[in-house]
């Protein structure tokens, strides 16, 4: 009995404390550092030369390489998460407007099995073309989505009424353009293009020369 009592009084608390400590350590342990996919994280062992002149030259070159990345002229930024479009420089926002970007929806043609995903592309683009009074040339998916037959005549694809007054082409068939559904601005409802209200579109069109960089994230 006495041995049991000793065991209970001494060993049990010791075990309990040890268990708590082990649990705390396990809970608090540092997770192994994961290197992000596609990035060289902290393997940057490039060191500056010890010679001052060489080091200065190397540092100046690095600064220039970084500065060169930011466009000298205003650039467009499209935030697909909050559905906002900006015209900005490094220090100043010149235009901030609500827009609509791709829904991410999927369409499969039950007849041919063709598949489309309506996302706004992410990355770096340039304005290639500026169009006034643009007409929409309906792609096949526009008919398939409506359950209509894809027309054979090119003229049956053209619609002059949906893209607003202007369109800015940023490549691969994607445009920043107007909309007749201004009440839906701010919602991800497009097939990948970027829709803008007429006043903001007018302002953006006037401020944007061909060659302007477009950053979409």
């Amino acid at each position: 009995m006495a041995v049991r009592k000793v065991l209970l009084i001494v060993i049990l608390p010791v075990f309990t404390i040890a268990a708590i400590v082990l649990f705390a350590l396990a809970f608090n342990r540092e997770k192994p550092e994961v290197i992000a996919e596609g990035y060289t994280v902290d393997t940057l062992l490039t060191e500056l030369p010890q010679d001052e002149k060489k080091a200065q030259k190397e540092l100046t070159a690095a600064r220039k390489a970084l500065d060169k990345l930011t466009p000298a002229k205003p650039y467009i930024v499209i935030d697909t998460h909050a559905n906002r479009i900006y015209m900005r420089t490094k220090d100043k926002i010149l235009l901030d407007a609500r827009c609509s970007t791709g829904s991410g929806g999927e369409l499969i043609d039950s007849v041919t099995g063709r598949r489309w995903i309506f996302d706004t592309p992410r990355g770096i683009f340039k304005i290639r073309r500026k169009v006034t009074e643009p007409w929409w040339r309906k792609p096949d998916w526009a008919f398939i989505e409506e359950g209509e037959e894809v027309p054979k005549k090119e003229s049956e694809r053209l619609d002059p009424n949906v893209m607003g007054d202007y369109a800015l082409d940023f490549g691969d068939g994607f445009f920043i353009h107007g909309t007749i559904y201004e009440r839906l601005l701010g919602v991800n409802v497009t097939h990948g293009c970027v829709r803008l209200g007429s006043e903001d579109l007018d302002s953006l069109y006037k401020q944007t020369p061909i060659g302007t960089y477009v950053y979409i994230f």
Binding site: V41, L44, L48, Q50, Q56, A65, L66, Y75, V189, Y215
Partner: protein, 236 residues
């Protein structure tokens, strides 16, 4: 004129020429000093060369250039500027000032210090993201109509405005973002667990920054920061 008076005159003229030369030299020297103190644009000239500072700047630039190369967005915790930023290919695409709540400048310094660690690690990926509570950006009834008109699933159209979310890096470093959105808790159990974890780890030296953000900025930051997203720290 006597020879002595002639020599006196020539001496005087020599001295006056010398004085003019000295004055000119002093003027030139003072101009030179001014030029070396400011650059052409009127900004102060570069500090004297410091190899250690140069090495730190060089490492930072090289780190950013390596991130820029991927042409994907990355997060920047810019402590000297006190901004949270998103950059793409080295270009600033989104930013928001670090409006601190329940934490102060010393927490920023400690966070920056712990992020760098003993090896001076400038980049770490986000390990975890935890959404405490959120609210739909567009009312469900409105989305149902839009969904029918656009043939897109209403769930795809919805954007969750976060009430509160956390981004976590290695070593328990945490960025806690709060908004004025009164959202529904995602999982009360998970939320309690996250809070307990923070309460236990913080006194053990795990750094937490708590920021207040308007709902739309928080929406962007929440959606743009997935686990694995590289984060660059510009040290305090």
């Amino acid at each position: 004129m006597s020879t002595s008076s002639k020599s006196a005159v020539s001496l005087v003229s020599l001295f006056s020429q010398l004085a003019i030369l000295v004055l000119l030299a002093m003027l030139l020297a003072s101009c030179g000093k001014k030029e070396s103190a400011t650059t052409a644009s009127g900004t102060p000239a570069a500090k004297p060369w410091n190899q250690s500072d140069a090495e730190s700047e060089y490492r930072l630039i090289k780190a950013e250039l390596s991130l820029a190369e991927a042409k994907k967005p990355y997060l920047v915790l810019n402590f000297p500027r006190k901004f949270v930023e998103l950059r793409l290919n080295g270009v600033l695409v989104w930013e928001f000032p670090m409006e601190l709540i329940e934490t102060d400048q010393s927490d920023l310094n400690d966070f920056s210090h712990d992020f760098l660690g003993p090896k001076g690690t400038l980049m770490r990926p986000i390990l975890e993201k935890h959404l405490f509570a959120s609210q739909g950006l567009t009312p469900d009834s409105v989305l149902a109509i839009i969904s029918e008109a656009t043939n897109v699933n209403a769930e795809l159209l919805q954007r969750e405005l976060p009430s509160r979310f956390q981004l976590l890096w290695a070593g328990g470093l945490t960025l806690d973002v709060r908004t004025d959105v009164e959202g529904k808790p995602k999982s009360k159990f998970q939320n309690t667990l996250a809070d307990i974890k923070q309460a236990i780890t913080r006194p053990l030296g795990r750094e937490v920054i708590i920021l207040k953000m308007p709902r739309e900025s928080a929406l962007t930051l929440y959606r743009a920061t997935l686990p694995g997203l590289p984060t660059l720290v510009i040290p305090a």
